[in-house]
C-alpha cells in the first residue's frame, strides 16, 4: 500500500473527499456572510440560527405537511428569507449608519433568542430527517464508500456558489448592488431604489444560509445547536478569505474544509482548532484576508 506522509493514500483520498464535502458547507455559509458584510456592512451573527431555521422548516414541512425534500429545498430559503427581511426592515436597517459592532450585537442577540426558542420546543437530541430516496445509497470508489447524497451536496453548493458569484460580478443587478453599497446617495439619485436592494440582498444572504440548512438536514442532526457549532468556524473562514470578497469566501471555504479533513487524519485532536490557527497566521501576515482588498 502506498503511503504519503505515513498515511495510506487510500485513506488520505477518502479524507480529502470528506473534507471537500465539509468545505462545501463552509463555502455556502461564508458566501452568505461575505455577501451580507460586503454589500451591507453588517456582521450577521444570526447566520447560524438562520441555517438552523432552514433545516427546521424542512423538517416541519416533512412532518406536518408531508412536503418532500425537493419542495423544502425550494421553499425553505424563501420562508426563512422572508423572516430575515422582516428582521432587516424592523431592526437592522436602523443600524446601517452606526458602527459595525451594533449590527454584530443585535444579530448575536437574535441568534440566541432564535436558538433558545427552538431549543425550548424541541430539545437538543435532534429530529430525524431521512435522506431522500432519489439520493440514497452510495458508490464504492475503492478507497472509500461515497454516499450519493454527499456528492450531491458538493455539486449543489458549487452550482450555488458559482451562480451567486456570476450574479454579483457579471450581471447588471449585481453591478447596481455593488454600486449601491459604494455610494448609496449617488446611486439613489439615478433613480434606483437603494433600500429595496439592500433588503433583498439581506434576504438573499439569509436564503443561502437556509438552503445550506436544508442540504444539511439529512446528514447532520436537525437540532437547535447545529448552527452555533458551525458559525464560529464559518466566521474564521470569512476572515481568512477576506471579509468583502465573494470569490475569496468560496475558495477559502473549500480549501479550509480540505485542510480540516487532512488534520483529522494526521492529528485528529487538533481538527477543531486548525482553522483558527490559520486565521491567526493570516491576520498577522495579511489582515485584509487572502483575497480581501486592502483596508
Amino acid at each position: 500500500m502506498m503511503t504519503l506522509f505515513g498515511i495510506p493514500t487510500a485513506a488520505l483520498f477518502g479524507q480529502l473527499l470528506l473534507g471537500l464535502i465539509n468545505g462545501a458547507f463552509y463555502a455556502m455559509l461564508s458566501l452568505g456572510l461575505a455577501l451580507i458584510f460586503g454589500l451591507l456592512n453588517i456582521i450577521n451573527f444570526s447566520h447560524g440560527a438562520q441555517y438552523m431555521m432552514g433545516a427546521f422548516v424542512a423538517w416541519l414541512g416533512l412532518t406536518y405537511l408531508g412536503a418532500n425534500y425537493w419542495v423544502a429545498l425550494a421553499l425553505a430559503p424563501v420562508i426563512v428569507a422572508a423572516f430575515g427581511i422582516v428582521l432587516e426592515r424592523t431592526m437592522l436597517s436602523r443600524l446601517y449608519k452606526l458602527d459595525h459592532l451594533y449590527g454584530l450585537l443585535l444579530t448575536f442577540g437574535l441568534a440566541l433568542i432564535i436558538e433558545g426558542f427552538f431549543r425550548q420546543l424541541y430539545g437538543i437530541s435532534g429530529m430525524p430527517y431521512a435522506v431522500p430516496k432519489e439520493l440514497a445509497g452510495g458508490w464504492n470508489l475503492g478507497f472509500m464508500y461515497l454516499p450519493i447524497y454527499r456528492a450531491w451536496v458538493v455539486f449543489a453548493s458549487l452550482v450555488l456558489c458559482v451562480g451567486t458569484w456570476l450574479l454579483i460580478e457579471k450581471t447588471k443587478l449585481g453591478a447596481y448592488l455593488r454600486a449601491a453599497t459604494e455610494n448609496p446617495a449617488l446611486v439613489q439619485a439615478f433613480g434606483i431604489n437603494v433600500p429595496v436592494m439592500i433588503t433583498l440582498t439581506y434576504g438573499f444572504g439569509v436564503a443561502l444560509a437556509a438552503f445550506a440548512g436544508v442540504l444539511a438536514a439529512p446528514i447532520y442532526s436537525v437540532n437547535p445547536l447545529m448552527g452555533s457549532n458551525l458559525i464560529i468556524v464559518v466566521f474564521a473562514v470569512v476572515v481568512i478569505g477576506g471579509m468583502g470578497s465573494i470569490m475569496g469566501s468560496i475558495v477559502t471555504g473549500f480549501m479550509l474544509g480540505i485542510l480540516e479533513g487532512l488534520t483529522k487524519v494526521v492529528y485528529p485532536e487538533a481538527a477543531g482548532t486548525v482553522i483558527f490557527m490559520v486565521m491567526v497566521i493570516v491576520l498577522l501576515i495579511k489582515p485584509a484576508g487572502l483575497f480581501g482588498k486592502g483596508a
Partner: protein, 405 residues
C-alpha cells in the same frame, strides 16, 4: 436605638431556641441541581433532572423536620470552570447544602473537589467516570446512577461473547471518553478480544464522517462509540449513511440513553445492546413514577439520570431528617446507614459503599424492532439483570483512600 436592641434580642432568642432541636444552617435546606441545561447532554439530564429533584422534595412533604426545602438549579454548560465557580458561589454565598445531578465528568470532578474542600455533599447522577469512586472519592461524595465500569461489564461483555472480537474506538476527547474506552478495552482483552485502534474526536462534535472512515479502514468487527448524547446519535446516523454495517462491521454504543434511541428512531437503533441503570417500563412502580414525571415533560419518558436524581435527592432528604443536621459528614453517615428505597423504583438492591459508590442492579437491554414496540417510548427488551456486585468495580480494587485495606 432601643428598638434595634429589642429586635436584636428577639432575633438572638429565636436563633438559640432553634438550636434545641434539629439544627439546619439558616433554617433552610437548599439543594442545587447543577446540570447541562442547553447543550449536548441536556435531554438525558437537564430540566428533567431539575423536575425529578423537585418531585423528590414534594413527595417528601416539602419540609425536613419543619424546615422548608428549596431546589435551585444552574447550567454548567459541560464546562469544569463554570461548574466549579457556580458550586463555590452556591456553597459560600447562597447557603446551598448539597449539589445533585452533575452530568459531564469534567464538571462533576471539579465540583467534587469543591464539595470535598467544604465538607458538603455531592450526589453525582449524570457523570460516568470511575475516578469519582477511586482517586477522587470523598467522604461526602456519592456516585449514584451508573459508571463506565458497569457499562463496560454489561455491554462490552455481551458484545464480545456474541462474537465481536476485534474493536476500534471512536472516543470523545475528554476525561469521560478516555475513561470509557479504557474500561471497555479492559473487558475486551479479558475476554480474548483485540483492540485494533482508536481515534479521538472533539467534544462536542457534529461531523463524524472522517472518523468513521478511519474506523472502516481499520477492518475491526466492532466500532465502539466511547461518547454519549448528541455525539452518539450523530455517529450512529452517519454510520448508517456511510454503509458501515453493509461492510460487515457493527456499532457498539457504550453509553446509550433512552433519549438517544428516541432521537434515532427504532428503525435505525433496533438490535443495539446497551446497559442501563433504569428503564421506565420495567415494572408497575417504575411506570407509575415515570408517568408522573412524563406529565410535566410533554410526554417524554425519563432516562436513568432523571430517575437517579430523584432517588439520590430523596435519600439525601431522608438522611437529613435522621441526622437532624445538615452537616455534610453526619448526613453522609446516615446516607450510608439507611436502606435505599423510593417511589421511582430505582436502586433495586441498592447499598452505598465506603468509596461512595451506590451499588445497585443494572440491566442489559436490547432495542426493540419497530414491530415489537407497543407504544411511544416502549423501546427496550430487558435481556438480563446484572446484580450490583457483578456490575461494579470490586471494592478491593478501588484506589479510594477511604477504603480500608
Amino acid at each position: 436605638m432601643l428598638k434595634k436592641a429589642l429586635i436584636g434580642a428577639v432575633a438572638l432568642t429565636a436563633l438559640t431556641a432553634a438550636q434545641a432541636q434539629a439544627q439546619y444552617s439558616e433554617n433552610k435546606i437548599k439543594i442545587g441541581v447543577l446540570t447541562d441545561l442547553s447543550g449536548t447532554y441536556s435531554d438525558l439530564a437537564g430540566k428533567g433532572a431539575v423536575l425529578a429533584a423537585q418531585m423528590a422534595v414534594e413527595d417528601f412533604g416539602g419540609k425536613v423536620n419543619g424546615v422548608p426545602v428549596e431546589i435551585v438549579s444552574a447550567d454548567h454548560q459541560n464546562k469544569a470552570d463554570i461548574a466549579s465557580s457556580i458550586a463555590r458561589k452556591w456553597y459560600d454565598a447562597e447557603g446551598v447544602d448539597a449539589i445533585a445531578e452533575l452530568v459531564t465528568t469534567a464538571a462533576a470532578v471539579a465540583v467534587r473537589e469543591v464539595s470535598k474542600e467544604k465538607g458538603k455533599i455531592d450526589l453525582v447522577s449524570g457523570a460516568a467516570s470511575t475516578p469519582l469512586t477511586n482517586d477522587k472519592c470523598s467522604p461526602t461524595g456519592f456516585h449514584w446512577t451508573y459508571d463506565t465500569y458497569a457499562l463496560a461489564n454489561g455491554t462490552a461483555n455481551a458484545v464480545v461473547k456474541t462474537g465481536g472480537k476485534s474493536w476500534y474506538f471512536l472516543t470523545a476527547d475528554y476525561a469521560f471518553g478516555h475513561n470509557l474506552q479504557a474500561q471497555t478495552e479492559r473487558v475486551v482483552k479479558a475476554n480474548g478480544g483485540e483492540v485494533k485502534g482508536a481515534v479521538k474526536h472533539p467534544f462536542p462534535n457534529s461531523d463524524f464522517s472522517s472518523f468513521l472512515l478511519q474506523a472502516q479502514s481499520s477492518g475491526a468487527q466492532i466500532i465502539g462509540l466511547a461518547n454519549a448524547g448528541a455525539d452518539t446519535i450523530n455517529a450512529i446516523k452517519q454510520a448508517k449513511e456511510f454503509g458501515i454495517t453493509q461492510g460487515g462491521q457493527s456499532l457498539a454504543g457504550l453509553l446509550v440513553f433512552i433519549t438517544d434511541v428516541h432521537s434515532l428512531g427504532l428503525e435505525t437503533a433496533q438490535g443495539m445492546m446497551l446497559t442501563t441503570g433504569y428503564y421506565w417500563n420495567r415494572d408497575d412502580e417504575t411506570r407509575a413514577w415515570s408517568k408522573r414525571w412524563s406529565a410535566k415533560m410533554d410526554g417524554k419518558m425519563p432516562s436513568m439520570v432523571h430517575a437517579g436524581t430523584y432517588s439520590s435527592v430523596m435519600h439525601y432528604l431522608k438522611a437529613l431528617a435522621a441526622a437532624k443536621t445538615d452537616d455534610g459528614v453526619k448526613v453522609a453517615d446516615q446516607m450510608r446507614a439507611l436502606p435505599i428505597k423510593d417511589a421511582s423504583g430505582f436502586a433495586v438492591n441498592g447499598k452505598i459503599r465506603a468509596d461512595g459508590r451506590m451499588v445497585h442492579d443494572m440491566y442489559l437491554a436490547q432495542v426493540k424492532k419497530p414491530s415489537e414496540s407497543k407504544g411511544p417510548w416502549d423501546y427496550y427488551n430487558i435481556v438480563r439483570t446484572i446484580p450490583g456486585d457483578d456490575a461494579y468495580q470490586p471494592l478491593a480494587e478501588s484506589t479510594c483512600a477511604l477504603v480500608k485495606k
